[in-house]
Subunit: 384 residues, 2 copies
DNA sequence: ACCGCTTTGGTAAGCGCTTTCCTAGCCGGA
DNA sequence: TCCGGCTAGGAAAGCGCTTACCAAAGCGGT
């Protein structure tokens, strides 16, 4: 019964306070709280009551130091480069995809008592790497979106702390989680080629070196080649995964007088948004004159005009899987094989909407929920 | 020169390793790293070199325990209630607004070396409060979106750790940050009344007790009353800040055969999306038969059909301001007046698009960037 | 009634840092 | 040459927990 009933800020109670109130040692308090070597019922009762009375919650820094477990995982998101210098322009649009992935992570992380420490990094910054290593010392493991570290840095990092990458490539010390890029794009390509009979294509790539973009582009190229159709190539078809990148690419092509292909398959939905925008600006009808497709199926995709045909990734499941994979690596001190080195692919599905030339999907009487994306079973994970 | 050149996971180096390599005591290492009592140049050099060689980064749990500063702030987001039980349905749509706010926080947090620990809570859960108190022990302060705690809990929490609320109400121990709800809605209402000459209105509210919703509704009611127009009232005009809530409300009204007002002003953009959807479903033309407006100006707003007229909140600035406010409260042990008790309002602007009956805004040649939302000056903050 | 085994709770040693306190060495002035 | 005043670096005391390790107590079997 201490006297801080006022409004003055007071220190949170410590385990010593609880021990004193309960008339036991701090070890007993800890044991009651952590369910070790279950103490006598009466002791437990006394402690629990003191805890409730004081509203005691252990300080997690102290707990982390002692138990060598912070129950925090760091998440690194690559911050898009602005085409102008204003701090936030466009960012809002461009981070929907990672945000949804993070949501999936957080959902499963909570079941394990973990929280996410989220940090966006600007790769142009002097030493983005240092920030990531710093984040690592605040967490038990790291999940890296996209490519944010050089292979050497990644290797050094992964040797100190568990690391899972998203849309990267697995290394001997890291695991990787990604959507089935090749399969997804193949299905889309076949739809465009065999159902719509389109004959000229272009692939608007993502940023350079992105494995996702590479796989998707390759799948399209393979299908196009197999059917004897034409694929336009060239550096002018490089985007940035961002809407502005897509818009600029198209604007430039048109300005250069390049003949557009019948289909523009974009590396992701954001790019497709930009493409749609630029085409509309020039009065080019979609899908009448040019068909446009995306990849990911982010929420806006179905609100665009025309509604965007795309390949749905199980976005939240990607995040959930990344977390579960990382979780399985945390605390494992055995050199034995955990998830390290694994490459985990999640299935994708084709979503036919209007922008490929299909007729609009039916509208349901309630606002259309996105399909439930996460398996209830926390252990469901697909292996390579 | 130790021997871990293999791929085996090794422990990160500690301050003791650095001290040994540099041939100094750990105190010196700490002093060099923290810039205290600047050590002799030669010592500093030796330490710095050892740090570089080992790639030493201090463990933040230990640092936090000792320095009583975690450099982490917890962010609590209220998880929408699903109208069905599937884990994620619709969530993707409904959290854009908080995600953008968080982005603004994170941007300024980085300047101070802070990271955000983000947690969504389900208010229906048995003791959501416990989770929040737990989060508090992992951080130096908390930012609470929306209403996630009862006043009593909030008060107890705020006495232990600095707390800033978003879209709440200030208390003697907390500060609050919000958009200028009343002013924003007043401007919108005047536009609808005086420029478009509409005469019947309804306000689709957010969830019960939300100060934001209350203020917005009041502003509309005041303007409508002042002009002698009509405002439809009633429990059937309660939404949930979510798209499905809006869609369901409209569907029910139509099913009940209620005559719709000329204007439906929604408490936020998400609700407006649902309303737009439901109206389209029933073949009701917007804005021809019914005008619809939102609030917030989330990114999708301009991609809807028709493009949504709304009140823009400086979303990222809300987050940035919330962080700066919290930051000013952290470490202050003096009972003196910091930001506690302050209510900080940020200005809003009316965005006229199509859904109110205006003609579409011009399309710019590049993909339209959202207006830069954050002042460059880290100290820019608006007081009550 | 004694012995050894199994609880149960307390004592204390860390976890990896920061920071106070103190000693040793250095300087200049007398 | 000696002494007072500085400064730089080391020793050590925590920060608030977890968890050996150990002693005391309870219990059954002989």
């Amino acid at each position: 019964m201490n006297a801080d009933q006022g409004t003055s800020p007071s220190q949170p109670p410590t385990i010593y306070d609880v021990a004193r109130v309960a008339g036991v040692s701090i070890a007993s308090v800890s044991r009651v709280l952590n369910g070790q070597r279950n103490p006598r019922a009466e002791t437990r009762e006394r402690v629990l009551q003191a805890v409730a009375q004081l509203g005691f919650v252990p300080d997690q820094a102290a707990r982390a130091l002692s138990a060598r477990l912070k129950e925090v995982v760091g998440v690194v998101v690559r911050r898009p480069q602005w085409y102008d210098s204003s701090a936030f322009a466009d960012e809002d649009e461009n981070l929907q995809f990672p945000d949804m992935i993070n949501r999936g992570m957080e959902f499963v992380a909570q079941r394990h008592g973990f929280d996410l420490l989220i940090r966006t990094v600007d790769l142009d910054e002097p030493d983005a790497g240092r920030h990531i290593f710093g984040l690592a010392r605040k967490s038990d493991g790291l999940i890296l979106h996209d490519r944010v570290l050089s292979p050497e840095q990644l290797d050094r990092l992964a040797r100190q702390v568990p690391v899972v990458t998203l849309a990267g490539a697995p290394t001997p010390t890291t695991a990787n989680v990604h959507g089935d890029n090749y399969g997804g794009m193949r299905e889309l390509a076949r739809h465009l080629i065999h159902d719509h009979h389109y004959r000229t294509f272009a692939f608007l790539a993502g940023h350079e070196g992105s494995p996702d973009s590479l796989d998707r582009g390759q799948a399209l190229a393979d299908e196009v080649a197999a059917s004897g159709a034409t694929l336009l190539q060239g550096e002018q078809w490089r985007g940035s995964y961002q809407a502005t990148g897509g818009a600029q690419a198209i604007t430039r092509l048109i300005a250069d007088g390049v003949a557009l292909p019948r289909v523009i398959a974009c590396a992701n939905d954001q790019s497709a948004m930009g493409v749609l925008y630029a085409l509309a600006l020039h009065g080019i009808d979609v899908p009448g004159e040019v068909a446009v497709t995306g990849f990911d199926d982010i929420p806006v995709a179905r609100h665009l005009r025309p509604q965007l045909t795309t390949v749905r990734q199980p976005i939240q499941a990607l995040g959930a899987t990344a977390f579960e994979t990382l979780y399985s690596m945390i605390g494992r001190t055995d050199p034995g094989q955990d998830a390290r080195g694994r490459d985990i692919a999640l299935p994708t599905t084709l979503v036919r909407r209007e922008s490929c030339g299909c007729t609009p999907e039916d509208r349901s009487p309630v606002f259309p929920p996105r399909a439930p994306a996460l398996p209830a079973d926390p252990n469901t994970r697909q292996a390579d």
